[in-house]
Amino acid sequence: MAARKDKSQSKAAAGIDARPWIEKYRPKTLDEVSSQEEVVQVLKRSMDTANLPHLLFYGNPGTGKTSTILALCKELYGPEVYKSRVLELNASDERGIDVIRDKVKNFARVQVSAAHSTTTTLPTHRPPPPYKIVILDEADSMTSDAQSALRRTMEQYSRITRFCLVCNYVSRIIEPLASRCAKFRFAPLPSSSLLARLTHVAAVEHVPISPEALATLVEVSEGDLRRGMTFLQSCARMKGAGGGGGGEGVEAAAGGAEVLPEDVYEVAATPPGRVLDGLLESCKSKRFDRIENTVTEIVAEGWSVAGLLQQITDRLLTSPHTTSVQKAELALQLSDCDKALTDGADEHLQLLNLASRMSAIGVTA
């Protein structure tokens, strides 16, 4: 929360709205949340009855977990009461048992003042509900001690305070906490919603982008809207379009060239399909010197090997020409290679090893 606030303030001083688009286009109401209909429906109903359970949101990155809870809070409280009623903790900065014991507990036990509840009117014409909300973002990176410390706090002050835990992996939340919450799974966004949202933003920001490039964008973002947005903005910057970012500056559009699929690949650090084709082709030949040449070429071109691994996975694991046994062997090799790369091993050697193994397994795309 603090980080976000600082940023928007300093940006306001600079005069232009140069916030990253992911912040700029964060949904302000529940209706604006892309996809996730079921979750939104449940939340809306609980808004009407002013009865909200503790929440646990989990799902892949960029599926709108944080956006949904922020939008809900905004709708519940409106801008004035928001600050005094919502505590947002980004667990990756301030974790640990002390924070739970002091900050969260102190916030949770203070009664809601009735003053605002009667005076402020919200756009929804509903008085703010008589409880506060604590949002624990990235809750899966909290230590289990800190999570345990939360158990009793959650129950004790449940009359005044509701908790919302947001995490990627529900398995990292200790069972006693998980059982106290209503769980909501956020599925990866379907391509249609991604496409709709990205098209909308591209239009508002005057980014000239070809339909193929949009399709590529959807493909590389893999159901993660935040990635999609960031890539779109990077493309726009690279092409010099929509720089002012006001939405009003029509002439900004004239400055930039059209965004093409290659640019998207470039920004996403994903090698284009032809690189993979070349690699598979040389694997098929089963000649070591040829594989070596291709791999040397790929490394010299500077393509990201991690990106290539992802592509190999996508391509070969769905390939109809590969048998299940081959796929299993391949998956083992891929995971070994990925582990080694993450540990910082040399890309050249690892990729060459993987390619020669692939050739031995005999996969064909």
Binding site: S10, A14, R287, T342, D346
Partner: protein, 355 residues
Amino acid sequence: MSGGLWVDKYRPRSLDKLDHVPQLSQRLKQLAASEDFPHLLFYGPSGAGKKTRIVATMREIYGPGVEKLKIDQRVTTTPSGRKVDVSIVSSNYHLELTPSDVGVFDRVIVQELIKEVAQTQQVDSNAKHKFKVVVLNEADYLSREAQQALRRTMEKYTSNVRIILCANSTSKIIAPIRSRCLLIRVPAPEITEIANTLTKIAKKEAASVQPDYIQRIAEKCGRNLRKAILMLEMGVAEGAQTSQSKDVPFFDWEVFIKATAREIISEQTPQKLLQVRQRLYELLTKCIPAEIILKTLAFELAHMVDGELKPDVIAMAAFAEHRLRQGNKAIFHLEGFVARFMATYKSFLIQVLGV
């Protein structure tokens, strides 16, 4: 502009003078001109010109003022009371450091130093932009904690500071950092491009070098321009202009590793292993990085053995190199690789020759 290695002497100073990937220079120019300059992450193989491009981009942003450099030593204290000092190259507009120099304490550097810069505003009122630039070299060697710490700094102080990261690969950069930067891939130059650059330099140095000599250097340098220029300078110093059939010069350590590989192939016995250990130690004491020794050795061996053994050699090398990065003592892994290779090769020979 006289003296110094040719590599430094002929380093292009502006984006226009860069020879290869002109589209990239064009893009960087556009970025430098725009108000909204993002954080950048340059990645590509070594000797492709990442650093040259970074310097040229900063010159494009701030003008020649960025070339007035000074070097400082900064001392920061870790929470455990240990003093860490790091050298910083800086100008009025930018600051350049290699946090991975201090090993596990890089987080402190990122937290303290970069934050300090990030919190102060640009002093020079004539400056074109309000922000300063921090260049972090070897970003892929930053520890995970340091990267996490950087993540918040990058968000929080965007108005005062832009961060340019320079890395060999993106695999080790955590996703949140990657998604905050504009990724810029710098591919290695093509062989013909290297040859052109070498010809230009040779002409300026008034060294009459045969075209096919230059061509051979360009092919042998592994598309690493820095290495190519060094090789050319070495070759000229050795008098390449007189005798045209002279071999392309190799670095001493390369020749040495090649010889080592030949020895390993010639005999696979415990005695030989001891001799090889001597040689490996010699390389290590000459400050040749263990990863490079292993890689060069592996490729040499792979070229010398039979076709069906090649994938095994690479697999062994990949395994040993991975261990090497995680471990502390390089000699164990190097020797382990050699021993394993010897065993595999020997049993292969026995099988084939039917002894």
